[in-house]
Amino acid sequence: MKLPLTLILLGSAMAASAQTPMPLNPPAVHARAITDVGAPLVQVSDEDDDEDGGWLSFGGDGSDEDDCDEDEEDCPTAGRGNAAPAGTVAPPANGLFGDGKAPTASTN
């Protein structure tokens, strides 16, 4: 789990314990209570939860260096967004397309 979410959960747990006498219910799955700090801190799963559905190790070397978030400075596409899908804008004027008409694609 990413650090900001962990901090939010930690802060929420501490605030809740100060405001209510009811103990927090730890998550049922992948959870382990830590009881030696006086508050029911909870460590939840540290599994990656990439919203893109994976692709963390695109390229196959098994390291997270291949994960390229677009807000990272070293990401080549940082701040540039995704390309416009075909049909939404004209193709690039690179001189390859004879009449400027967009290519069409089909998959089967």
Partner: protein, 159 residues
């Protein structure tokens, strides 16, 4: 005979300069047959280099997330992974065992003039495959299948 007005002269000159690159084009079909490589959809960059080996431009990008473009490493080296290079010519990634067919009008000047078509391929959690296909664009090469490498079974272009 009246002298040609400067505006018309300029128009005629620019037309003469621009038209040779645009007026002669032919419909071309590119077909990419994928291997059953057992992974997710492949990102494919289809692009052209000129007789000097320099990047001439892109023809198609299969795969919409620009943050993965750097795995199309030869294309990325030429373009700096610039998504603007494939604005308007980007579609979905291509699954294992599938066939991608692209129809486009290409400038005649690309054929029999030393230009080469390349296809870079990349798949999640699998090895990148730059320039998996590199085929000279010639009239004689039309209709002849070119065998791919890791992810692409074969590639054909035809008129």
């Amino acid at each position: 005979m009246k002298p040609m007005k400067p505006l018309f002269a300029a128009l005629a000159l620019t037309t003469a300069l621009v038209l040779p690159g645009l007026a002669f084009a032919k419909p071309v079909t590119l077909t990419v047959n994928m291997n059953s490589y057992g992974g997710r959809g492949a990102y494919l960059a289809v692009y052209v280099t000129d007789p000097a080996g320099a990047y001439a431009g892109s023809l198609w990008m299969a795969g919409g997330k620009a943050k993965y473009y750097r795995h199309l490493s030869d294309w990325a080296r030429f373009t700096g992974s610039d998504p603007a290079q494939v604005d308007g010519i980007t579609g979905a990634s291509v699954g294992a065992g599938q066939s991608l067919t692209l129809d486009m009008d290409l400038a005649d000047a690309l054929f029999d003039a030393g230009y080469t078509l390349h296809i870079d391929a990349a798949v999640e959690d699998m090895r990148d495959s730059p320039s998996e296909v590199s085929v000279p664009l010639t009239a004689a090469g039309a209709g002849q299948a070119v065998t791919g490498g890791r992810y692409i079974a074969d590639f054909t272009y035809g008129f």
